[in-house]
């Protein structure tokens, strides 16, 4: 079942485009006049030094912040003020820089929660936990189990996520996002604070997701190695301004990018 809203976009076409977007918090400019697009089926990296406005960018894309200027076009629909849950229904899923799981719940329930927006059985069946409500539970449990299998987290199914090591929490969070069967998956530093091995695993999963589910991915990452390996195209932000956009190789050579990272004064 595909998320509602917007016509189907075929691989290679523009899935989402950001047009001349600006956002500021009480005078402080977080993002100014940024434009770029994301193609269906690609892995798009957003990089830049700390405070470059990367996370704000993601927050704008999934409607958590509302830009003062410019607009977002997703699946051909242009929105300026989109509510987060609308974004979710539209098919945008998201993981967070510092894990935002539901700590009191088990890994299984967390991922199940990710399917809430696909479950519709009414309140009274829910009360009885029977008929449609139960069918729905079973059907979605099956989907969730496939994700659990895909991410190889069977043995922690019933563990409250609060007790899991960081690396696994990140994996569960990815699982929760996948449960939404998104068209666009936003990953905010999926490998932050991971050791090499965990990073390799996570990279593997990101590629598998893109390959296996054909999900379009936009990710923020600091580890340049990872970015270069994973992404098809990279957009570079610095102090809220887009300074470069292109394939990993183009970016590598770009003087502005090098300056930004070496912290040359502006």
């Amino acid at each position: 079942m595909r998320a509602p809203g917007g016509p189907e976009v075929s691989v290679g076409d523009v899935l989402l485009s950001v047009d001349d977007v600006s956002l500021s918090f009480g005078g402080v400019k977080a993002v100014s006049n940024v434009s770029f697009d994301i193609h269906k089926g690609e892995i798009r990296a957003i990089i830049g030094p700390n405070g470059a406005g990367k996370t704000s960018m993601l927050n704008i894309i999934n409607g958590f912040y509302h830009p003062q200027h410019g607009h977002i076009t997703f699946k051909g629909k242009t929105r300026t003020r989109m509510q987060p849950h609308e974004a979710a229904y539209g098919g945008i899923a998201r993981t967070f820089q510092n894990v935002a799981l539901f700590r009191g719940m088990t890994a299984l329930d967390n991922i199940m929660a990710g399917r809430s927006l696909k479950m519709h059985s009414n309140f009274f069946w829910q009360l009885l936990r029977h008929g449609p409500a139960m069918h729905e539970e079973v059907e979605h449990r099956h989907r969730v189990e496939e994700i659990i299998d895909f991410l190889k987290i069977q043995e922690i199914r019933r563990v409250p996520v609060g007790r899991l090591p960081y690396g696994l929490q990140k994996r569960v969070e990815l699982g929760r996002a996948l449960a939404m069967e998104p068209d666009l998956l936003l990953l905010d530093e999926p490998m932050a604070g991971m050791n090499l091995e965990e990073k390799e695993d996570m990279s593997r999963f990101v590629l598998d997701v893109n390959d296996h589910y054909g999900t379009t991915i936009a990710l923020i990452e600091h580890d340049m190695g990872v970015v270069m390996d994973l992404s098809d195209r990279v957009v570079v932000l610095d102090h809220g301004i887009k300074i470069a956009d292109g394939t990993p190789n183009e970016i590598k050579g770009n003087q502005a990018v090098i300056d930004a990272y070496l912290g040359v004064a502006h």
Binding site: F25, N59, F64
Partner: protein
């Protein structure tokens, strides 16, 4: 139609026709407000420093007042009794930190909130056990608080201000001033504000949390004592006073949990609003609306400013 008139016109006509009554009511409200502010102040102090929503603040007022009177009744001279009571409040602060806060450090807010409930119950029981349940008279005069009232004519009527109320207003403002200085100027004060932001910050200032908590609870205790004396002097000292603690809550919403000026102004707004409402609108709703009016005012207010008058703006990050 008639109702509309009753609600939206009549009260204002009354106000216009008898300004002396209006002034009188305003004054009453102001004084009540000041006392609310003082209690709210106690809350704010503790909430700022330890994030604890101290439900016991109200009972601390009663407890302080009772202790004071209790000492006096056992033949202790008034000022000595006052000193002793202050000592008791310090002891209380110390005990609370030792026996309650320290073991509960890093627990969720709601747990600490619950703990202050426990404290409330304990203090009620203890207070009644020691001082008995029946109301007492505050030793206002013995403490040199003025009696009587100043009256002056106004628009063909009288406005009378109880001296004690004036004193209350003055003392309240003095206390606020003192606290302000304490926060701005002293090292502990600064540390305290640091704590409000983050506990690590406080430690970096080089003052132990435990120490800060004791200070804060003690300060709250003093505020409670002052409140107790004032309120007691106006009516009487009994556990009925406890209810005013609940009165102070809407003040908090209005002023914001972490803002001292907020507490003061919120208090005044609530106090005045309550009295005016009760006096002019009360009759047509059936009296006693002041029990909830304050809350409704606060609630309506909240819908427009969730963080209160002076509370820091909440920017949600993720």
């Amino acid at each position: 139609m008639h109702l509309i008139y009753q609600i939206f016109v009549d009260p204002f006509v009354q106000m216009g026709s008898a300004p002396d009554l209006l002034v009188q009511t305003l004054w009453e409200g102001l004084v009540a407000g000041v006392l609310y502010s003082l209690i709210a102040l106690g809350f704010v102090l503790i909430f700022k420093a330890s994030g604890v929503f101290n439900f016991a603040q109200g009972i601390m007022v009663v407890f302080a007042a009772l202790t004071l009177v209790g000492f006096y009744e056992h033949g202790v001279p008034a000022y000595l009794a006052l000193a002793l009571t202050i000592a008791v409040m310090f002891g209380l602060a110390f005990a609370v930190e030792r026996l309650m806060l320290r073991p509960l450090v890093n627990q969720p807010d709601i747990i600490l909130f619950m703990a202050t409930f426990g404290l409330t119950y304990f203090l009620i029981g203890f207070g009644e056990l020691v001082f008995g349940g029946d109301p007492k008279v505050m030793i206002a005069s013995q403490l040199g608080l003025p009696k009587g009232a100043v009256e002056f004519k106004m628009a063909g009527g009288f406005v009378s201000l109880q001296k004690i109320d004036i004193a209350a207003a003055i003392i309240a403002s003095v206390m606020v001033a003192a606290l302000a200085v304490f926060f701005q100027k002293t090292r502990v004060g600064r540390a305290l504000r640091a704590v409000a932001d983050s506990h690590k910050a406080a430690l970096s200032v080089g003052i132990s949390l435990e120490y800060i908590w004791v200070i804060v609870w003690f300060a709250a205790g003093l505020v409670a004592l002052a409140t107790g004396i004032m309120w007691g002097a106006r009516s009487e000292v009994s556990f009925a006073l406890e209810i005013i603690a609940l009165k102070a809550l809407p003040v908090l919403i209005l002023g914001g949990f972490t803002s001292i000026p907020g507490a003061i102004i919120g208090g005044v707004i609530i106090g005045v609003g309550e009295k005016i409402g009760e006096f002019y609108w009360g009759p047509l709703l059936g009296s006693g609306i002041e029990t909830w009016l304050a809350y409704v005012i606060a609630l309506v207010f909240l819908l427009f400013r969730p963080q209160g008058l002076f509370g820091e703006r909440i920017i949600e990050r993720i």
